[in-house]
Subunit: 227 residues, 6 copies
């Protein structure tokens, strides 16, 4: 249940350096580094392929067909933030287009993650403002009902607290709680450290079966080869 | 309920100049200009990003798994038309490929909007023939049952009358009834006229809150800021 | 019902030349050449547009959230193979990423067709390793339960036997049983042979109505023209 | 595209006797009698099994999350009518509950067909007021925006004109255009007339293969029996 | 993001009397009484119609295909509780059947609300143990991975904190936060108080248009009647 | 890929006694007894609750919108059979109604399992002929294209071979391969044998935690209790 009609102005953002560094590892590695949790529903897709970002979440709660609070959240954006928009009921309307993107960008936002639709996607691509959304829709919205800014929200099935880190790329959107961000960064770096070596081995034809020493546990689990 | 087995040869197309000029405003602006109505279901997606077209609708009603009438509608196409294809029951088969596209293009069609599937999408992209569809499918169709051409149809949830204007781009597909086209064009132009100025202001950091004078109505609606 | 815990090492692959030549005709033509059967569900989409491949199927049966057998199937890959992965229950997890792709590629695999999710899609695009999947997801998998390799599987609604030919492109994924491959290749070639001539006629403005002599059967079926 | 903000008070209802008599044949027979057209999407389900009704359509167009016009349409109901409610964009909110049902019933309505959600379904069952809907939802609606009453609407994929006949039962909802109602009633009666005899034959063990003389056409179509 | 591997034994339950009294008003009235928020996704349906309950939430977080924690949560149940089960990723497996229901019932549980599947539904009906779920499935689960008990969870899109009140009936499932329960009970009672009078008026033929004095605001909004 | 146009008249049915005895254990227990495999997709639902059957599969492959082969399969039914109907592409049409049910019943069929729609569901309930289907639809079908009878088919994601056992109830539909039927029956009986004792213990308040000795493995897995 949400607290309606409030804007929290002072939120505790994850340390900027930590938040920024997570981008390079991508959502899949970060997701693994957290113990395979934190991923939003897979229907959240980038409107254009290729972007890979991380940033601190400012959250906004909107009503179906009403984007009034998008203007309210704009004021709370600080450079390095990613806006996370949740809706109180399922909706695919186009809440966000090139004008709002211009404003968000001017405030320093890195991206939008929205559990609804957006529009002007061609222009958003030209502006290089990355968006992850559930839908694309020309359908506009009204400005009639207030929601909230910077409260904890549920976006695409995940709880997002203001100040958490969002990591998003072509594979999806991952939420890293503020308290776990530093530790996750370390774990992600460690995971990636030995990937280069593994890749080289596999490229040379070494099998994962041998590299990961899987033959014995597979046999133990009962796997049988038949010629 | 549909009238089956008829081809209306003389339809009243929207004035060509009006129909052509609507393209530049795009589906989102045109949708707003009509009062936020007229949008087809958001599952209608372009098979390739980037096209932005408008044109007069010639309609065709097809049966599931049967594209016979696509050849009948081809003859009714005039330069500047967009073919709108409805199906009598849900179907994702590939009704349309490169051969039909060649024929449609030769007749002067600008695009196809189909509440079903298409195929040869790579070639359609190379031919630069834009298509909005519900699905992509290799599955071919038969030619066994007759439908109708240029009757009013329901395509992706919207009624389309022959001669109406179709505006389609990466954001979706909007239907503008013939009787409303001129007025919609004006409204769209008016909307766009002051967008440049707004964009410049927002880009300079002015907030929508101030530009649209939202602070007072938000406070009145009960919005509270908490530090 | 599946046989679990077995790896068939010796499978009868379709003749290499036949399997290779089917690629050029694409999934739509091959699907027609087989009599409009063999197409996987249309939710199977390429993660990147543009690839068009054919190859011999090696199959793998996996459990939800568990990609252990992907390492087992890697060893069974021969140059020219396409890996077809089925899951015992619906799952969208990311079973496959850049490391496995490196290994599959080193073994000579041409593509992956998986009735689940994959990740690292940006890197997979850079590696030019084509994948058709049901989803994209950062969500990783575990390695705990054994499935099988090279048994007949159901992938996206189609039965695939090891050694069958897979033809995949932007239009979808078609399965050609080994016993029908040679005959299908001939039929596909025959279909394509007269497409050039048809295309030229249609491009010149000749109607399908006349080229296919449809006017009489349409009239017979009751089609009426109204002026 | 819809005409907004209008209530047509004088509509031409299908002849009462014809409209009433169609109920007994049920949606499947009526659908066949019209040539297999007129069926709403199969997601339209009765909230309680067992009701079988027909009546004349009064239509209402609503906005997402707003049921204001339900009170407007109530006044236009005449005994023997069925209210058909369409929404301008997909919505599953609960537009209708026991209070509105009390009012509709008092006005003589026989049923509601709504392309959205309803609530108080237990009470509606006790009241024996039949409803066909897309969803059940506790979520209430507001009363803020006007739509229209007795204009042609698209409900669950079908065009419904005010005064058309609605036939609904456990199998679904069929729309019979006013102009076709009398002829459809005759065709439905004719279909049903010889069903009793057929049923008796089939119950005695006679096969459809023989009763419908299908063996020859099946053999001609190439069917082969293998022992 | 969830805290894994913990069981909170001491939770603050909503006052028993308040929690118990909410049942009689049903999910629709309670949802309205909270200001139209708090409803779980409409895919949460009762496995048998007719039950109407309220109780205090004990929560459990499970992994896909793994119901081990169902046995852990059983021990934390107190008479009057409703178990709310969330899953870390979408899953339709049957987590719960007649044995677990026997145990839950023996502990005093009133119902189960689960964002996944259940089985033995016929027996559950005979036992009169109410369940709201996303699916019914024979598919069993394993007991391999630990989750948590009595942490805040997201179930069918809603945040549920242990000790909150759950109100569930044929219309859906509503979550009432502990802090709002007393006030919601009052509001629900107030809403219901004047429903009887309204119902009587509507039953006598008085229109909502008049009872709610809607004619003037409708005219002001631009509604036009056409004869 | 399917063999089209053939009817296999002599199939090897599972031993009648084994096939008949599986019904009493229900789909959930049988599914467990096979090692948690063999379940059709959960969208397969009974059209009426309460039936619990088992029988030997006769299979039929149909085309979208065409039920011609239903009459062909009727002749192949023997007492104790369950008809399993697969379609070559997704379809929700109503392939089966009261007349075919009369014929199937006269031949001794116990039930129909169909990966598509059925109609006349009220009458089917009165006839007590159980059906599991994907949809209910008034939409009729034609009789134009031949499929096959008694070939292996994919129905709702599962391979069904003619002669396999089908076990279906309110929890879903399970396929037991002929070769595994006797062994599965034993395993199911063994599973059920000690359920009575377990149920009594749980009813008396004993926890699964203790009955299944889970406390130690849970602690070992890291579960922590917090007061």
């Amino acid at each position: 249940m949400y607290e309606l009609g409030v804007v929290y102005r002072n939120i505790q953002r994850t340390d900027r350096e930590v938040a920024d560094k997570l981008a390079q590892y991508g959502s899949a590695t970060v997701h693994e580094a957290m113990g395979r949790v934190g991923l939003m529903a897979t229907y959240m897709r980038p409107i254009h392929a290729g972007a890979q970002v991380s940033g601190t979440a400012v959250t906004v709660l909107l009503h179906p067909g009403d984007n009034w609070m998008m203007h309210v959240v704009a004021e709370q954006i600080q450079p390095g933030d990613i806006v996370v928009a949740a809706i109180t009921a399922p909706c695919t309307d186009g809440y966000f287009g090139d004008l709002l993107a211009t404003s968000f960008k001017a405030r320093g936002a890195r991206a939008l993650v929205i559990d609804a639709g957006v529009r002007d996607v061609k222009t958003l691509g030209e502006m290089q403002f990355p968006v992850w959304s559930k839908a694309v829709s020309s359908k506009g919205t009204i400005k009639a009902t207030i929601g909230s800014v910077n409260i904890p929200v549920v976006c695409a099935g995940m709880i997002v607290n203001p100040g958490d880190v969002i990591v998003a790329d072509d594979d999806g959107v991952v939420v890293v709680p503020r308290a776990l961000a530093a530790r996750t960064l370390e774990a992600a770096a460690a995971r990636e450290a030995n990937e280069g070596e593994k890749r080289a081995k596999l490229a040379s034809g070494v099998l994962g079966l041998d590299m990961y020493k899987m033959r014995e546990p597979l046999a133990k689990a009962g796997l049988k080869y038949i010629d």
